[in-house]
Symmetry: C2
């Protein structure tokens, strides 16, 4: 038996019944002789409700006070889960982020974990207590509360697992594991038994929001084995671990990301450094650019297209219009009616023809490709948003059926 | 110009509008050049809602986890108040009990403040910040959260005022001050300009729940001047201070307490020590006894009657029946249809006839007195609950009209 860290998201503890469900999973693990540290998020919509309360009073409230407010959400859920575990007759203690030793940077609302000093957790485990820890939160060098940003509870769990050399870190969610495609859209989607950290990272980036990216990065760095599994159905989930430890699959999944927009610059004067300046303007506004396509110059001008997150489309368009139209560019326009579909697989780097097979699937389904981007373990295409679900299905069939 | 501690209860911050009302009171005080420390309770029914949540999961949850849960209530209210003060354009910082230096005993749910180490508060005041502090909570020697029990925020405010030698501690409530009687019941009730600590203590004990008793005791001990005033109407309230500093009023108020029950023991065998054993049985069950009446022995038996809080009536009756009936007592019965009406006044110790005047008022109103108890600054009578409001009116008229 060993040390197991278990993390439960907000929907897993949304009401009293769910809280008891989690309490039973935790105490079952404890009964088997394991030391158990449980990381919990705020219940259901608590965080959103608190944000609404804040916005009603002051939409421009300081981030410090926002964190003070938000951190109360996990405080409620750890206390309730501890009470449920007490009710089942097991020894338990709940700890806030600062009590559990989460020291973070001072960047309120998106703090980074600097270190976890798990002395208190260890002391409680030595007393044979189940330890319930508030995810998502920590304390900075000023002794002020901080939060880690969305998905931070995953990171909290992996950080404890890393600091305490846990044997396993289980991330309980409302899905049974990591699938080859979204099972709600692709009936033949298969649950993966294992996936590598790198593949998981690509999938997370691509909108398959099973695991928070920072948590996967941290798990990779400290080589913590993760298991993604359902809190509602009792079956093994997907193990996320080092690629070297497993058979490389050709491709491990197909993912879709609708939160994307294409920004096009038509007729940009072909002056040295101007393309660089376009992207430095955009990044200065804290806007991340993904796929970039640049046409070959013609008539002393060229065209550039790139993708940004949908919510940044308008702002990007405005910034570039203000900057480029006076310099003689013909047109700047943003198009939000697009989606990105990607295949991910650690195996593809050693297999030629993966991209070709994907394009073939799309051609057969009569889906037009607008842009293409590739990395060692990923191929992404930009297509019309309306085609996205069909594209995922067509590609999934080509590779998995 | 000085240091002012202001305390606002849950109803004063119940919604966004009320929070802004408090923010304006606080910033008006700050604008006048004062250092301001604000102590806040949880919003409106938050604490009760949290207790409901706990009871749904585990009515027998440990007190440690209850405190972990309840302390989240003030965390929410301090953050929201700080956000409102930010919105009005003033520098502010919110602090939890442990950040504000509240070190308490380890008695979860009813912890005592051992000391307040206001280093952080002072540091923030030096930076010209308004400091918003979570009332009702602290931290014990195990670094665990504790709460002070009902009314604890008053005590938090006075404790800060004492630790920092504040010039004034204002307790904002939903009434305009301390009245000679309940103004909702007695139209002629007058607001007092000043009242002594001892009189305030008697009034608080008697059910005029304007101020928490522990807070008045602490204010008396450290000689902190309190002002009880309304958060909704802008006028001076009632100052609570040392009796020596003011004109002694003959009586300062009439109060009523319906939360009382009379327990009667009829035909108790007149054996030495038995009366003592009766009360030690009762106090062993943590039940407080107030007025005691003992008849002169007759036929080898005597009768004893005393009052307890209404919620303890049934338990007291059962304890004494189990103990006394086998010993030969004739009857033990509890009567909850009674009320206690009292007059309080530091002046009465030097004026004879105050009690007589009170009894006369009751006689004129044809109200029957069941029991009487007196102290140096108080006379209480036990009467039928149905007569309570009339009794208060009659006594008030006699002394104040």
């Amino acid at each position: 038996m060993g040390l197991i860290v278990q993390k439960f998201g907000g929907s897993s503890v949304a009401n009293a019944e769910r809280v008891f469900n989690v309490a039973r999973i935790v105490t079952d693990t404890y009964k088997q002789g394991n030391n158990v540290v449980v990381v919990v998020s705020a219940q259901g919509d608590t965080t959103d409700d608190l944000i609404d309360k804040a916005n009603e009073i002051n939409p421009n409230a300081s981030k410090r006070e926002r964190d003070m407010l938000l951190a109360s959400g996990e405080q409620i859920s750890i206390a309730l889960l501890a009470m449920a575990i007490e009710k089942l007759g097991y020894p338990v203690v709940s700890l806030l982020g600062w009590q559990a030793g989460f020291q973070t940077s001072s960047a309120y609302t998106s703090a980074r974990i600097k270190r976890v000093v798990p002395d208190r957790i260890q002391k409680e485990l030595d007393k044979k207590n189940i330890v319930v820890v508030a995810g998502f939160q920590g304390i900075n060098k000023y002794d002020d509360l901080t939060t880690l940003g969305r998905g931070g509870s995953d990171t909290s769990a992996v950080a404890i697992a890393a600091a305490m050399h846990a044997d396993l870190c289980q991330i309980y969610t409302d899905v049974k594991g990591v699938y080859t495609a979204d099972p709600r859209k692709v009936p033949n989607a298969r649950k993966l038994e294992t996936i590598s950290y790198d593949e998981m990272l690509e999938l997370a980036t691509l909108g398959a929001q099973v695991l928070n990216n920072r948590s996967v990065e941290m798990a990779k760095k400290y080589n913590i084995e993760l298991e993604v599994l359902s809190s509602l159905e009792k079956e093994p989930g997907t193990i996320v671990k080092e690629a070297a430890k497993m058979e490389k699959m050709l491709i491990s999944g197909v993912a879709k990301d609708k939160d994307v927009a294409r920004v096009s610059i038509i007729g940009l004067p072909d002056r040295p450094g101007l393309a660089f300046k376009v992207f430095s303007k955009v990044s200065a506004a804290n806007i991340n650019v993904d796929i970039i396509l640049q046409s070959i110059g013609r008539d002393g001008t060229k065209d550039i297209a790139f993708t940004v997150a949908q919510e940044k489309a308008e702002e990007t368009e405005k910034i570039l219009k203000d900057y480029l139209l006076p310099l003689g560019a013909k047109e700047v326009k943003a198009d939000t009616g697009v989606a990105k579909v990607s295949i991910v697989g650690a195996g593809m780097e050693s297999h030629a023809g993966v991209a070709t097979k994907m394009f073939e699937a799309l051609m057969d389904a009569q889906i037009n490709i607008k842009m293409i981007s590739t990395s060692e373990i990923k191929v992404s295409v930009l297509i019309d948003e309306a085609d996205a679900d069909n594209a995922v299905k067509a590609i999934h069939e080509k590779f998995f059926d």
